[in-house]
Amino acid sequence: MAGLSFDLIALQLFAGLALGAIYVLFAIGLSLIFGMLTVVNFAHGAFYMVGAYVGLYLISIGGNFWICLVAVPIAIGLFGLAVERVLIRPLYGRGIDYPLLLTFGLSYVMVECVRIAFGKTGYPFDTPEVLQGAVDIGVGYFPLYRLFVIGATAVVLLALWLFLEKTSFGLIIRAGARDPQIVRVLGVDVSKVWLIVFGIGTAIAGFAGLLAAPLQGVIPEMGGTILAEAFVVTVVGGMGSIGGAVLAGLLVGVVVSMTSLFAPEMAKVSIFALMAVVLIVRPQGFFGRAGLMS
């Protein structure tokens, strides 16, 4: 292995953090939705992808990237609210499998609709001009945009934390994640809470898609791979735990980054193997609720 130096490792670490940041955003939504609604949202990748496309569309009609940062999560969140109300709500009480299956079918529909509207081949997505280029972070040159992604993720996490810790609605969410029965007994309208949580979760997914767009362009299938990888993150971190999602997301990003240094072909296998091990040894992951079952 030629040239394995401290600089290189440090650079890899940063790359891992940037990679992990997207995983974290994606996984938080998944984890929130599962924690509160006990719904495994198989369409989460599709929401992510639609976020990227909405951003593409807004920019094409004259908007700019900064407006998109605000408009996209709002748009996707509203769409998420509609989906929860119309499609998922009828399924509560029917067993844990049904919402999973429904979102599975929904992802097919959403992907195909995007294909119809925007075509199959995908589009390039230019990095906003201000964020182009690379900066010297001491150990080497690192793309400015990726630093922005790390920063934006941190901001979103902070906002989420403030919301959950400091507002009464956040209190209800935390309580609901801990023990849904008690919350209902205390007279809270749980269905409204679920609606909002689903909206927030999907909004963050859309935001993640927008952030990812300049990194890899947009194609209708972009939600599929990240969904599988994000499941690893949510499982390792613990379904229903935000803190777990953050930690696990960064961990997975760094694991992929470091495995790439030594054996890139094994990078993908390693995270699925990690997921399998965690599920067998400690199914609730880092911080999940123990004994979570159907």
């Binding site: 049904y98 999973l100 599975f104 079918g105 929904l106 529909v109 599920l279």
Partner: protein, 328 residues
Amino acid sequence: MTETTQSIKQPGAATGGWYEFATRHRASIVAAIILVFPLVMPFTALAVNILIYGLYALGFNLVFGYLGLLSFGHAALFGTGAYLCGIAIVHFGWPWYAAIAVGVGGGLLMALLIGVLAIRTRGIYFAMVTMALSQCVYYLFYQAVDLTGGENGLRGINVRNIDLFGLRIDFINPIVRYYVIAAFVIAAFVVMSRILASPFGAVIEAVRENEKRARASGYDVTLTRLLTFVLSGGFCGLAGALQALHLSIVPIEILHYETSGLVVMIALLGGMGTFFGPMIGAAVFLVLENVVSVWTVHWQLIVGAIFIACVLFFPAGIWGTLVARGRR
């Protein structure tokens, strides 16, 4: 409960009787339908695919419908059966019947390996573990390029003639190939029917209905789960082996989680926990896909929409809903 309904509703007795008849002679009915099938299908290869996916779904249904566990990793069982059958023929030159046996064995073994690791988890976690483990199997087979062909798939599974009791049967002929494969599928359905009708079959359903009570009654729930999963692997392995012989190739995509998702869709569409459901689901899904593909390239939209409609309005699937209506 069925008796009471029958005695109260005299006109309904006919429908009650119809259902009873169907259940008693289910294997024979399936056999009869399968035998005349190719005459109504657009082309024989599609009919064969329906048989194979019907069998795959039948195996999956044992775990999903009868045991009540959602597995997202059944592609590993289907694919292992296909690959082992193919490898036996291509790399070891074994005869077709030995290769099929290897395929079935492969499915049983892989199900045992995955089952032992996964069976202690429940609910969503079971779905996640099976998915993760089957992804590992996918990468394993992908990397073993010398045996499996890797991304290019395994080619050369060419069975020209089948020598059976001195008769030389031309396997290339589409109708002949259909009936040979149909023979295996019918046999599998008979075996499945026997399993479900046996005391063990009753235990499976007992575990699904109320696990605690089943355990209290003295049944080893974990062992039951494992055994059911392994049996399911045998059926899926057979389906995979037949697929390998039919297409003369095994594509790496067979181990991908999309193939796991496909069987979930088919089982739900047809009706989980019913005997005819899987075959009906496979037929409807594949015919629909074939027909819709001719009209529009956007068949995934239609299929996805139908699936959503099924989950929302017909959770018992096509056959399940018909049965429920029929019983009313």
